[in-house]
């Protein structure tokens, strides 16, 4: 199967951590153009191979994964437009490096969900661990629950929306993009951020270095209203806006090649 031929190079695993068999089991049930995978008896690699085979090779645009069982690294590296639904909780590094999918997770996710996401929409109907949306570059990541520390660390674009409380160092080293935090936020919000915008509805324990209050504009309100409507989060509450004070870091001081890394 073309979608997985490239993986046949993985033939050896001294530590027993890798599923070396790259056979696509073809266990998905396809009906009316939609596929359902029961993941209860499958390894992480088998699940991901099945998903890729469906969306890359078979032209399926809607995949549901049942019983994901908190397995790690599910749904990673999907680089096409499709819909995915996970009926259950996922482990760490779920949905990393995706570009285009629209995903719903009916459960919780572990740390580093959606790290390096390029485009798409991910809605988590539950809580998420630390490092949610690490280095995200685009798309919408919506957590309808609480999150741990360092949400959006190194964020380079996109929008992260948290309906519950967020932990410490949220927006740490943020470089672009937007965060909409509808609950309370822990200490060191926006620590060492270069750029980007953080909106907070609840209480902020403390601000990090060079994170300063900003002034809400009509554009900010239009953006927040639009996103909250998309994700059934009601009407915008009164928000505080935070931006970079530009005293610690400044794009103008960067080498051109460094500047490109954060565009």
């Amino acid at each position: 199967m073309d979608a997985v031929v490239g993986e046949s190079q993985i033939t050896y695993d001294a530590r027993g951590l890798v599923e070396v068999d790259d056979t696509v089991l073809g266990v998905a049930v396809v009906k009316d153009g939609k596929a359902t995978i029961d993941a209860s008896e499958l390894t992480t690699r088998k699940i991901n191979l099945e998903i890729r085979s469906l969306v890359y090779e078979q032209g399926i645009e809607d995949v549901t994964v049942l019983n994901p069982g908190g397995k790690h690294s599910l749904g990673v590296g999907i680089l096409t437009r499709c819909k995915m639904t996970f009926e259950g909780s996922l482990g760490y590094f779920a949905l990393g490096v995706i570009d285009g999918p629209e995903v719903v997770v009916n459960g919780r996710v572990g740390w580093s969900a959606c790290e390096n996401m390029m485009a798409g929409v991910v809605v988590i109907n539950g809580n998420a661990g630390s490092l949610t949306g690490a280095a995200i570059r685009g798309g919408d990541l919506v957590i309808k629950g609480r999150v741990g520390a360092r949400t959006g660390i190194d964020q380079k674009g996109g929008t992260i929306i948290i309906s519950g409380d967020a932990g410490s160092n949220t927006g740490f080293m943020m470089q672009r993009g937007r965060q909409l935090l509808l609950g309370d936020v822990g200490p060191h919000l926006g620590d060492s951020m270069y750029d980007g915008t953080i909106y907070v509805a609840g209480k902020v324990k403390s601000l990090g270095a060079d994170c300063v209050p900003g002034e809400m504009t009509d554009e900010d309100l239009e953006f927040v209203t639009r996103k909250m409507a998309f994700y059934d989060l009601g009407t915008p509450p009164e928000l505080q806006k935070f931006v970079c004070g530009k005293k610690l870091y400044n794009y103008d001081n960067l080498e051109p090649s460094e500047r490109k890394l954060v565009l």
């Binding site: 979608a3 490239g6 680089l79 929409v121 674009g157 490109k260």
Partner: protein, 152 residues
Amino acid sequence: MSNDHSVSNPRKDPEKIISIDSEYLTGKRFAYQEEISEIDGIDLQESTPGGDINWLEDITMLEEDGTPAVFDRYSNSFLKIYYDIPAGREDEIARKVLIKHLQSGNSYGTVLKERYAKFAQPELGPWVKGSKTVGDNYVPPVLEGWEAPEGH
């Protein structure tokens, strides 16, 4: 990489490059960089996931070497735009030019996929439905005289 791309790109490696642009990487300038009508058919909302323009929210009109330009994150380079930009449409045009560039398969990052992608993936990613699969025949280079350790 060849040192002789075109007259408009006279740089010689290993000269330090501080302004990487698409034309330098591909050796080409595309019609949609010179003619605004080339982007007429682009529907931004249709071209992106979700209910709005999604990741394009972060794409704005920038400037490189004094010329309006949009940044292509898939090749880490600027795509310059040479026509007059109507006032108030800067970001819209930047986004449409970038989407046209990606859908046409002209981004240098896309060009590299055919030869270097290590895992199977759609060549045109999420921008064009049903594009061919690349990366399914990658063979890692092997040093002459190298032997795999026992067990491989």
